[in-house]
């Protein structure tokens, strides 16, 4: 045994660790019962009573005792579950009164956990004389948050009982919660160390900006256009107000002199003003066109980049990611979110800049012209901005809701289209329509509440704008009547400015909404981009150009959900070039086993070796090239027959493709199709029968020419005759390669060198066909049943 250290020599560090975490109150309580802290091997928290109330407790394993501590239920205490709470908050209240139960380890015969929906119950049975053990006795109950630690204790107990001692390696528990170093709160997903609380919207914003980095020159041109436009916009009211009224219409001689054209006709001056005004408009339009062109070149590129990045990460993610999410929901993310994100950045931000710029510049000019009037016109601007900011979280909410409504509608649609055949067969179109309508309604109401909210927002802005206008007119007229130095032109210019402010202000009302939408989508997009695949290639992965095909599984334990093993301690050795048949009930774990060998999942415990190298160390490329699987659910991609067969090796020659198809007994039916190997199949093309699809997948695997071939019910949906043909080709195929074949029909496994029977996640029988028949176990029963069943129908 590696690092075989008797537990009594527990290292200093480990003692520290335990002391640090078991609260002092508990340690003190234990010392009152002669339990010393250095005797404690490990412990688990519990959070329920056996009556089903929340209450704190501990399960403590010492070298010779199992100690159960439990406090009284306390409804005033807050119970925090995974993801909530921070490091410093744990075990704050340890000064409880404890009820304790001590059991000597020697007295325990079995220690097990019954799993319930939200947790589990620990129970034991006492050793008794004779064969029978004592009755099962409940010890403690706990929620799912604690179950990992409790199961660890159960495991340690069994090692301790079996071997009498524990190594330090086994005591270490892998699954420890991790905390954000910044704010100390627990990571909801310890694989992906992102603290949702510390991830603020600002950093999302900056991350998106990075996507625009390659377009900096173009963006600078755009910004210049915006600035010039904003400047020109300022000139317009000035020309049509102050210059026109106060200088030209009032025939101001000084003004003409200042222009350097004294004494000319005012008509010419008027013409000049009109010309300048005209040119201003033209320039604004031209600049508008230029920035439009820039937008059109940047936006699609950024959107494309985002989409392919999301798609790429999705491709790298493990199968489990896809199993836990709805396809429709994922589609929404790829398709819509990228567009929503960029929309704001490219159309929104520049306008935002220009509008803020316009507002500030206008304000300055107004204040310089007449500060009293300016104050009257602008006093409301800060107020509506504050209100807008306050409303932002609400908008965020509304967008999130709309997204979820859309997502569930998409999922429903996806579900329905995929299952169209079943819907039709059972004549359920009407009820499906009703269900769809329900989702549709939800999207509508989400959209409606958004629009409603938006309208309120907009109304607020319009009201303030109008009040500002009225105030300028009223206050301006008052000044005009009472003050000699106030001119009509100034008032007209002012109203022009106020009117011009309406545009930017209206935009701001929209910008808040737009920003929320964009950030909301961005967050969802980054959620995917940041996701870390569970199965990763090691940075220094071993390259294996050729494989022999020796497979070895050592103590492999695996479950799709933590703590619910589907495979238990599987040990299996397959020699290179041999064929292994796997038999077992449905749900016994056969497909799971081959999924592990092709590394679609990683085992939770134990290791898998190919040619003596751990598959976790093998480069993905080599592993995938050398291991091919024909699974029970075949998938045909959109494309021609030839493309589908050559999926793993697109460069394959015609010879190879035809050869593979012949070996898979697919050549015949392919030739009969009008376009032969060029027939487009898959979702957009010709329909294939189940058997035809299966033969194409077999051809695909044959062409890939793997060293390890996995056949998972590969011939389940072909007729007996075709199966025989494929069987023959498989016989040819299995030469020089390791084959693992799963089948219900035992005839398929006739040629297997060795067979294993898997039941309930364990290998129950192992040997050649003859050996297994002699054992008269499950295999024998199955064999007899199948031959009898055939005999009954007068076949065979």
């Amino acid at each position: 045994m590696r690092g075989s250290l008797v537990f009594t020599a527990l290292s200093e560090e480990n003692i520290m660790d335990i002391k640090k975490k078991l609260p002092n109150g508990v340690l003190k309580f234990l010392s009152g019962y002669q339990v010393k802290s250095e005797d404690i091997i490990t412990y688990a928290n519990t959070d329920m009573t056996l009556e089903g109330e929340f209450a704190r407790g501990y399960i403590i394993l010492t070298q010779n005792k199992l100690i159960i501590l439990r406090s009284e239920p306390d409804k005033s205490e807050v119970y925090q579950f995974k993801g909530y709470g921070s490091k410093n908050e744990l075990d704050i209240r340890s000064e409880k009164k404890w009820a304790a139960k001590y059991i000597s380890i020697k007295e325990i015969d079995r220690l097990e956990v019954i799993r319930s929906i939200s947790g589990g119950v620990l129970y034991y049975s006492e050793k008794k004389e004779g064969l029978e053990s004592g009755p099962d006795i409940q010890l403690a109950s706990f929620t799912n948050m604690m179950i990992g630690a409790v199961l660890h204790i159960v495991k340690l107990f069994s090692i301790l009982k079996e071997k009498g001692e524990l190594t330090e390696d086994s005591i270490k528990m892998e699954e420890k919660e991790e905390y954000c170093p910044k704010c100390g709160s627990m990571y909801p997903d310890k694989e992906r160390k992102i603290c949702p609380k510390c991830m603020d919207k600002k950093s999302i914003f900056l991350r998106i900006l990075l996507y625009f980095k390659p377009f900096i020159p173009k963006i600078i041109i755009m910004i210049l256009c915006y600035i010039v436009t904003a400047g020109l916009n300022l000139i317009w009211p000035y020309m049509s107000g102050k210059i026109l009224y106060d200088k030209i219409l009032s025939q101001n001689a000084e003004f003409l002199e200042s222009l350097g054209i004294p004494g000319i006709n005012y008509i010419i001056a008027l013409g000049l003003v009109v010309l300048v005004m005209f040119l201003t408009r033209i320039t604004i339009q031209v600049l508008g066109i230029i920035q439009g062109v820039m937008t059109a070149t940047i936006v699609p590129k950024v959107i494309m980049k985002m989409k392919s990045q999301v798609f790429q990460t999705m491709g790298e993610l493990s199968i489990s990611f896809f199993n836990s999410r709805q396809t429709g929901g994922l589609m929404t993310r790829v398709l819509r979110d990228a567009e929503r994100v960029t929309g704001f950045f490219i159309d929104g931000i520049p306008y935002l800049i220009i509008n803020i710029f316009t507002i500030i510049a206008t304000a300055i000019v107004m204040f310089q012209m007449n500060w009293k009037l300016a104050l009257a016109a602008l006093i409301f601007v800060p107020i509506i901005f504050t209100i807008s900011f306050k409303m932002m979280p609400k908008l965020w909410h509304f967008y999130g809701r709309r997204h979820r409504a859309e997502r569930s509608m998409n999922s429903r649609l996806n579900d329905n289209l995929t299952g169209a055949r079943v819907v039709k067969a059972f004549g359920q179109q009407d009820s499906e329509l009703k269900r769809f309508d329900k989702n549709n309604q939800r999207v509508r109401s989400a959209e409606m509440s958004l629009v409603n909210f938006d309208n309120k927002f907009f109304a607020l802005y319009v009201i303030f704008e109008n009040i500002a206008m009225i105030m300028v007119w009223g206050f301006g007229s008052y000044l005009l009547l009472n003050q000699s130095h106030m001119e009509l032109g100034i008032l007209i210019t002012f109203t022009g400015y106020v009117q011009q402010l309406n545009g930017p202000l209206d935009f701001m009302s929209y910008a808040f909404r737009w920003f929320s939408d964009s950030m909301n989508s961005a967050q969802r997009m980054f959620e995917i981009i940041d996701a870390i695949p569970e199965i990763r290639e090691k940075p220094d992965a071993v390259r294996m150009n050729t494989m022999e095909g020796n497979i070895e599984l050592k103590d492999v334990t695996f479950g799709y959900e933590p703590h619910k093993p589907v495979l238990k301690k599987i040990n299996l050795k397959i020699e290179a070039g041999k064929m292994l048949g796997i038999v077992g009930r449905s749900g016994a774990g056969k497909s799971t086993l081959v999924n592990l060998i092709s590394r679609l999942y990683d085992p939770q415990e134990g290791e898998i070796y190919i040619d003596g190298i751990n598959i976790k160390d093998i480069a993905f490329k080599d592993l995938r090239r050398n291991v091919a699987m024909v699974s029970q659910d075949t998938y045909i991609f959109m494309g021609t027959v030839a493309e589908n067969i050559a999926y793993a090796n697109p460069e394959a020659s015609f010879d190879k493709i035809v050869e593979a198809a012949v070996l898979a007994s697919a050549h015949d039916f392919i030739c009969k199709m009008p376009e032969g190997y060029d027939t487009v199949i898959g979702s957009a093309g010709r329909n294939l029968s189940g058997g035809e699809k299966q033969r194409i997948s077999i051809a695909r695997a044959i062409l890939a020419d793997p060293k390890i071939l996995i056949l998972d019910e590969a011939t389940a949906s072909v007729d007996t005759e075709t199966e025989k043909a494929i069987q023959a080709s498989i016989n040819f195929l299995v030469k020089d390669r390791t084959t693992i074949s799963i089948a219900h029909r035992l005839s398929t496994l006739r040629d297997a060198d060795r067979l294993v029977v898997i039941d309930n996640g364990e290998i129950t029988e192992e040997g050649t066909h003859n050996e297994l028949v002699e054992q008269k176990g499950v295999y024998y029963k199955l064999k007899e049943l199948q031959t009898k069943a055939l005999a009954m129908r007068g076949i065979d």
Binding site: G52, S76, I117, Y123, I137, Q138, T143, M199, W396, H397
Partner: protein
């Protein structure tokens, strides 16, 4: 008539222990439901906090108690199973209210209390939505709880138009039996999922 033919065939081929008839009987048994009532079965509490069952000459020193329709019919169709991993069904209680005694009903409900432990949310203090997760701060019938859920998957499920089941990161369950009983303020917090 055909059956006779079959039997003959079996006699010819099965010289050993293999018995098709026995197997068929087993299969037939698998297809039948056995209903447990106070007439044919006796449940009793064990000293370890479990429940034992006696039906005729069969005795199980510990049984598992499952609901078949935990949401839509929690008091009907209670499945009683063997305690090992395969959890083979022993029988079904069709109606917990009428088919068994009050004591039996109580002890079975005790067993199910742990298995179907689901705090009922009585008050929502706060729900925060952050970067793909939602943080719940609530008061349940078992006391105040704080938990976290995934926003992406199916963590919040509608059992009916008004009944919500919420599953946290670890698979712990929380229930809101009727959202119409929540205040407008609480509903607004829950808006994320409505």
């Amino acid at each position: 008539m055909k059956k006779n033919d079959n039997n003959k065939l079996i006699d010819n081929t099965a010289e050993d222990e293999f018995n098709l008839e026995k197997m068929e009987k087993e299969t037939e048994e698998m297809l039948k439901l056995r209903f447990l009532t106070k007439e044919n079965s006796v449940f009793a509490r064990t000293e370890g906090g479990f429940v034992s069952l006696k039906i005729g000459d069969e005795f199980y020193k510990r049984v598992l108690v499952y609901r078949v329709f935990p949401f839509t019919n929690p008091e009907g169709y209670i499945s009683i199973r063997e305690p090992d991993e395969k959890a083979k069904e022993i029988g079904i209680i069709k109606d917990l209210r009428n088919d068994v005694t009050k004591e039996t009903r109580e002890m079975l409900e005790e067993q199910m209390r742990l298995r179907y432990f689901t705090p009922v949310i009585e008050k929502i203090i706060d729900i925060k939505d952050e970067y793909g997760f939602a943080y719940f701060d609530v008061v349940t019938d078992h006391g105040p709880c704080r938990f976290t859920i995934h926003m992406g998957g199916s963590s919040v499920v509608y059992l009916s138009d008004t009944r919500l089941m919420i599953t946290d990161l670890d698979g712990n369950r929380f229930e809101i039996p009727d959202i119409t009983h929540l205040s407008a303020h609480e509903l607004r917090k829950l808006d994320l999922f409505l």
